[in-house]
Assembly symmetry: C2
Homo-oligomer: 570 residues x 2
Amino acid sequence: MSVRYFPVLSWARSYTAHQLTDDLLASVIVMVMLVPQSLAYAMLAGLPPEMGLYASILPLVAYTFFGTSRALSVGPVAVISLMTAAAISGLGLTDPAQVVAAAMTLALMSGLFLVLMGVLRLGFLANFLSHPVVAGFITASGVLIALGQLPAILGLSASGHNLPELVHALGSAFVLAWPDLNVPTVTIGVATLVYLFWARGNLAPLLRRAGMSDRGAVIVARLSPILAVVASGLAAWYFDLGERGLALVGEVPAGLPVPGLPSFSSIPWASLAGPALLIAILGFVESVSVAQGLAARKRQRIDPDQELIGLGASNLAAGFSGGFPVAGGFARSVVNFDAGAATPAAGLFAAILIAAATFVLMPLLAWLPKATLAATIIVAVWSLVDISIVSKAWRYSRADFLAVTATIVLTLLIGVETGVAAGIIVSVLVHLYKSSRPHVAIVGQIPGTEHFRNVVRHQVITHPHILSLRVDESLYFANTRYLEDLIYKEVSERSDLQHVILMCSAVNEIDLSALESLEAINRRLGDLGIKLHFSEVKGPVMDALQRSHLLRDLSGQVYLSQHLAVQDLV
Amino acid sequence: MSVRYFPVLSWARSYTAHQLTDDLLASVIVMVMLVPQSLAYAMLAGLPPEMGLYASILPLVAYTFFGTSRALSVGPVAVISLMTAAAISGLGLTDPAQVVAAAMTLALMSGLFLVLMGVLRLGFLANFLSHPVVAGFITASGVLIALGQLPAILGLSASGHNLPELVHALGSAFVLAWPDLNVPTVTIGVATLVYLFWARGNLAPLLRRAGMSDRGAVIVARLSPILAVVASGLAAWYFDLGERGLALVGEVPAGLPVPGLPSFSSIPWASLAGPALLIAILGFVESVSVAQGLAARKRQRIDPDQELIGLGASNLAAGFSGGFPVAGGFARSVVNFDAGAATPAAGLFAAILIAAATFVLMPLLAWLPKATLAATIIVAVWSLVDISIVSKAWRYSRADFLAVTATIVLTLLIGVETGVAAGIIVSVLVHLYKSSRPHVAIVGQIPGTEHFRNVVRHQVITHPHILSLRVDESLYFANTRYLEDLIYKEVSERSDLQHVILMCSAVNEIDLSALESLEAINRRLGDLGIKLHFSEVKGPVMDALQRSHLLRDLSGQVYLSQHLAVQDLV
């Protein structure tokens, strides 16, 4: 057993009593936060509430053994729950047992993809989800999630997977119900919403003024949803509001899930592969960025490839124990960190506490109003909505703006899967497009230095019989024809030309297509009596060229630096 | 009317009698070559022979008006015909009229895609078909085409779209028929094959020894198929071999096609979109590389974006006049060029001659043996098969080798569409993978120069409190996390470090993801008391950075050159 594959070994062998105390305290706090969140996100995913609790037990245990972050708290999260809802509703299942089996299968498949990517060291694939695309996607998802919870707060029945569907369903339901909205539902929903929004900004300062420590005040403020849950549950029980039309969570099966596989046979698992892959990648990107941020604060490091295994194990565990796809949640990881979690054992303890709570709380949960859960979801996701990425991208680069806008617009108008897929595709296409028309500068010497810069931007020395071109891109199949065209054009405009120097300081690769183009350029310039030279060719590129005939057939020479080339040819 | 969009204006207004003579002579030669080729490629595409002739009339006229190459000869070509066969057989049509309509629709859709790409200036998309992938694809297609014609030569009935299917069908048919192979068919097929292979290598030298000019000998040798066609047709007629089991072309409708649209309603045109796009891109890449090669010999230029329009117009014309997808053919364009075609008018004259021939020859074509056509196809495509690209790629770069091998293997094992799509996808993925783990060199000063190179490859001067890193790649979403990891690793290994200089001579772009990473790096290094500097930042990158907060918050400075940076900080 090596630490590399079982990160648990890196801390468990030297576990101290002091760490135990820290971890226990953090686990209690995380448990208090996780129970209402788990119920709410199961509801968001369109699943029975107990699945949220199941998804917060074994996955935490699995992460304890295989994860490398000391603070990441794994469980149901908002965006992944929304994607789960979209994936499952796409199957058109009607039998509730099938819906449960589909959610478990989705978790298993996501877990499998994550473990596979980890074993094959394919973590780099996650890099293709760029920062702005992730930010745009989360913002758009937040809007969809918040809107999707409005019906529960207003006591209406309306659903949809994108903005037009939601607005239409909500509008029709509202017109139909108005003015007979259910008063207990609206009262509890709106009151919870107002309380939670107020608590977000004002509870911590209030507690601090009341003498609580900074850290304590922040943690208690983060736990404010538990007060809403308890208060609204008590109200529902005391006034028997269920009889007066308030939607309650209702009876849930007591006890823990029996680990086992879902019945694959009845669900079209092949059509879950695409969503499972997107969930795996997005969950990984989110978890790693949370974990990296927290690790850096304590000068610790995480291993992204091992995180794939850890997160994969968590999802497999979720799939085996009646849960649905999980990831590292931002808010709850921060709470775990702030509460002083010293090792991943905090997660293990939280899992045990949640399992205990599942026994004890199940009968009480029946009285919990759905409107309360909806309000906690809205407030939680509202902090994810941040439209500033759009203006930042607009100012900085049109390409990033295009990718962000495509992601946001398509997520809102069509749905989460299309949105995130579009973000990836647009980013990659824009990158390919840009590198297919590289920036090429004609350069000259800055007087008194050995430095060569763009003739357009700097006062430089040039010579009529030498053309120095700096290509600002690797030469590869996508831009080789562009380069050929450009060189012939520049050459045709210069009658005294005897030497063309390609300054390769920015050329990081020359692939076979580009090699064949350079051979053609060398041949054609040779026919015109012009010599082709290279300067500042990097080591790896030179190694590759030495395996070809180009250097042997080259009419000119290869110089170490542009300065030496011009010195020699002038 | 501008020359830009009607290239015909660039030569038609100054057309001379001398050019007319040249063009007329070339057109006669092209016509003689094109008639048997057109019939053969229609057979290869699984279509009635007259469609080959139709595809060689109006498309030539359209290219005359919209094309920019003075030598390119447009018409049915081998690889595109094979792709047409694959696309249409994928529809599972049984009614011959529907097959004809589907072929016309395919031509129309390819034409539409080409014109659209031309109007939207999307010619750069064709760049993603790299040289090695095209070479590998054509080689594999050549093998499939040649094998697919063997049954016609042996008088068997067998077909397939990939190597396993073909080998199996051919083997079974052979075992079944042997030893009762049809003697006239095998005799004519094998005799034609032997004659054509002999003529390829030996006819031109023979004619030259007999006193013919070099150019004349080459042209007559290229026309050798016409002799086989005439001789085998005469033999079939004289000995009435059709009665003895020789498969003949048979009755074809006399006269010209009536221009008109195919009946879309009966064919699943949506499933033709993918094949049409692949045919459009491949036909364009092929045509442009032929046209560019021939133009360079006369110091002429072609306009690739206008070529999209020209080729698109040709395919639209083919679709409107009972033809199938066309492209610029290599062999026949070279013959056109060698025969002295001065302007695209040669194509117009060839079209008129083929139209006339269609009237005159149709009754005679009934006697033409299919085995003869099959033999001309085999000999024509055999020159396309060139496996040397595999060894060249293996020697030069593993990435290109991977792309070529994937293309060849998948084309052979699965089919043309999968093969060419795999080639494109593998090329792009490999490129993205490589640029996601950029080469980063620690650099030092070469003594006595202002030049900085890799410490591993050169004898250089370094300083313990300065770390100079040269990143050999643009910084963008795919590699930004890699860079962050690498910098933190290098920094953690150096206790005396005070300055990190990022030498950006090879950084051609910094996108928003990378900008956010650099901001994080700057912040974290700042926390450790280490300053971050940049050197040799290029103009366009600097412009972008100036639109962000990075430069304002930077702990260090931006230096014009690495030399100035080290001079200042040492």
